[in-house]
């Protein structure tokens, strides 16, 4: 592109840094997004708003439409002026009975469609009623079955509760008995130690008596 043709942009606008050795499109786009975001919000909004609103004003008339001459201008003005009288002109040009007939035909057609739809609605409603009836009986049956099963489950639960209570009692008793036995064992141990001491004393006494007797 020729340098002379280019529109020069300010240095502030050309601040995007590009690593030409390793181009990363995403990174460039992020920089562009950051640059736009750093502008005052008002400016961005205004720009978007302008783009939306001014579109029609910016765009000249369509290419396909013929160039507007004096005749078409006059035609447009006449059409504009005649617009309020359009119903009257229509009334004068078209026979009223034809319009009436068309309206009645349209109404009749609409009525028939409405009748058809109403009938279909009734059919659908009766079908839904039948389905609901079937559903209700199914729900009752299921309810009964569920109740029976629940009763059985509660009975089983009661039995399990009693059994647990008994087990608890038994465990408690076992603990008491075990404690008692431990105390008994300790008592017996002490007694056996006393007896051992008594026996040792008697042995010593026996030896002393023997010494005295034979000396």
């Amino acid at each position: 592109m020729g340098e002379d043709k280019k529109q020069k942009f300010s240095a502030e606008e050309m601040e995007i840094k590009i690593d030409y050795e390793n181009i990363d499109v995403e990174e460039i786009m992020n920089q562009i997004k950051r640059k736009i975001a750093s502008r005052p919000a008002q400016e961005i909004e205004q720009q978007e708003e302008e783009t939306r609103n001014d579109y029609r004003e910016t765009i000249p008339p369509p290419l396909t439409s013929p160039p507007g001459g004096l005749r078409s201008k006059i035609r447009r003005i006449l059409l504009k002026l005649m617009r309020p009288f359009a119903p009257l002109i229509k009334l004068m040009v078209l026979p009223v009975d034809e319009e009436l007939r068309e309206t009645v035909e349209n109404l009749d057609y609409s009525n028939r469609r409405l009748d058809g739809l109403t009938e279909r609605l009734h059919q659908e409603l009766s079908r839904i009623d039948q389905i609901l009836g079937r559903l209700e009986s199914k729900i009752d049956l299921n309810h009964q079955l569920v109740n029976e099963r629940l009763e059985l489950a509660f009975k089983d639960l009661g039995r399990a509760k009693e059994y647990t209570k008994l087990l608890h009692q038994l465990t408690h008793n076992l603990v008491v008995e075990m404690t008692k036995l431990k105390i008994e064992k300790d008592h017996l141990k002490i007694q056996s130690r006393i007896l051992e001491k008594d026996l040792a004393f008697l042995n010593r006494r026996e030896k002393e008596v023997e010494k005295k007797v034979f000396s």
Partner: protein, 394 residues
């Protein structure tokens, strides 16, 4: 091995979208397999009215079987049904009614597929959203390969398609974004699928200077190539470009190539060339500074690939996930979401010749490694061989 390509329209006159995509693939795959095309007699994609007369014809060495459209589309009726289906609570039946209106309604084509299923090894369906794909895949799911060409629009979320997306043996996607979208919608990641796209046909030469002189294009210009309508974001493009001109007074024009359904504003910097030949198109693209793609909905954008093939950078609409993804993967273009970004990116691209050059080279590299015909053919062959392996293992 015999493969049928099933597509809504087919012909030399149809020069865009999934139909051209299908034609190019069929013509390239004929050197590996026996290829036939099953299509309708429609040409107009709005009404689907029967246009082609012959039941069977040969186009560029490919046998084409055409089936009549039973009822053309009534655009008003279709619009009403689509409005209802997109914006109101509805039943599956309503969606099927929508599909019937979407068309092209060609039950004879489906009947043929059903009766001749044994004659073909695989049916490759193009464009998920039409009658032929929906009912065709339901008819021969075990032999179906779907090239969805899906865009991120409300149609993809219709319930009938969730079920459809779980039927084919394999998917051939146009882009990663399309693959992710369909797998998200249908939860079908277990089905074989590959991102392939389409190769690009580039003429051997084109007289750029001559075309530009003939068309009276003397200054620097940006180019948009494609259908000029609102769905392609062209109204927004005009709005943004004229605003850009008003604010910056940059000496650049916008050249528009393609048929128009939109009133183009009369402005000295908007040059409308209408429909041009392939050679002229490449000549105009070659002469441009960059390609602008303002479309909101694209499943691939062949013209973007063409730009990269010709070493042209792209400025794309970021609201289109595919275009944004392609720019990021290729490092061959920038993208914009709003006017402020449009202005900044365009200014940057116009000012920075070096950036434009590097983006162009990146685009070309991306094109060469993903979208040359050798690569595309290999990928198609890979899918077929995978399916054959599965068949043998069963």
């Amino acid at each position: 091995m015999k493969i049928a390509f099933v597509v809504q329209r087919y012909g030399m006159e149809i020069n865009g979208g999934a139909e051209l995509h299908c034609r190019w693939i069929a013509e390239h795959m004929k050197k590996y397999y026996e290829v036939e095309v099953l299509t309708t007699k429609a040409y107009d994609y709005i009404t689907w009215e029967n246009y082609y007369l012959d039941d069977i014809e040969e186009i560029n060495g490919v046998l084409v079987r055409r089936f009549p459209v039973a009822r053309p589309r009534n655009p008003m009726r279709f619009g009403r049904i689509q409005q209802f289906v997109f914006h109101h609570e509805h039943k599956i039946d309503d969606e099927l009614k929508w599909l019937e209106e979407e068309g092209p309604l060609a039950p004879a084509l489906i009947k043929y597929i059903d009766q001749h299923r044994a004659d073909y090894d695989y049916f490759i369906f193009f464009s998920y959203r039409y009658y032929h794909s929906y009912w065709g895949i339901q008819t021969v799911p075990e032999k179906s390969i779907l090239v969805p060409t899906a865009e991120h629009d409300p149609v993809v979320y219709l319930r009938i398609f969730k079920e459809l997306f779980s039927l084919p043996r394999a998917f051939i996607y146009n882009s990663e974004e399309e693959k992710n979208m369909i797998q998200r919608v249908a939860n079908n990641s277990h089905i074989l699928g590959k991102v392939v796209g389409v190769g690009i046909e580039i003429p051997s030469s084109w007289p750029t200077q001559q075309v530009l002189e003939q068309r009276g294009i003397a200054s620097d210009y940006l180019v948009y190539i494609g259908r000029i309508d609102e769905n392609k974001g062209c109204d927004k493009l005009f709005q943004y470009f004229l605003k850009f001109k008003e604010r910056t007074n940059y000496p650049v024009k916008l050249v528009l190539v393609g048929s128009t359904k939109l009133t183009i504003p009369h402005h000295p910097d908007l040059i409308y060339l209408g429909f041009v030949s392939e050679e002229e198109k490449f000549a105009i693209l070659q002469g441009a500074l960059l390609l602008i793609m303002p479309s909101f909905y694209e499943s691939l954008s062949m013209v973007t690939l063409e730009a990269w093939a010709l070493e042209k950078p792209v400025l794309a609409n970021a609201h289109c996930e595919v275009l944004q993804g392609q720019c990021q993967r290729s490092q061959g273009g920038l993208y914009y979401e709003n006017y402020a970004e449009f202005e900044e990116t365009l200014k940057l691209l116009l000012e920075d010749d070096k950036l434009r050059e590097i983006l162009s080279q990146n685009g070309r590299r991306y094109f060469e490694s993903n979208y040359t015909w050798e690569v595309i053919e290999q990928k198609y062959n890979y899918i077929i061989s995978k399916l054959e392996e599965e068949k043998e293992n069963k």
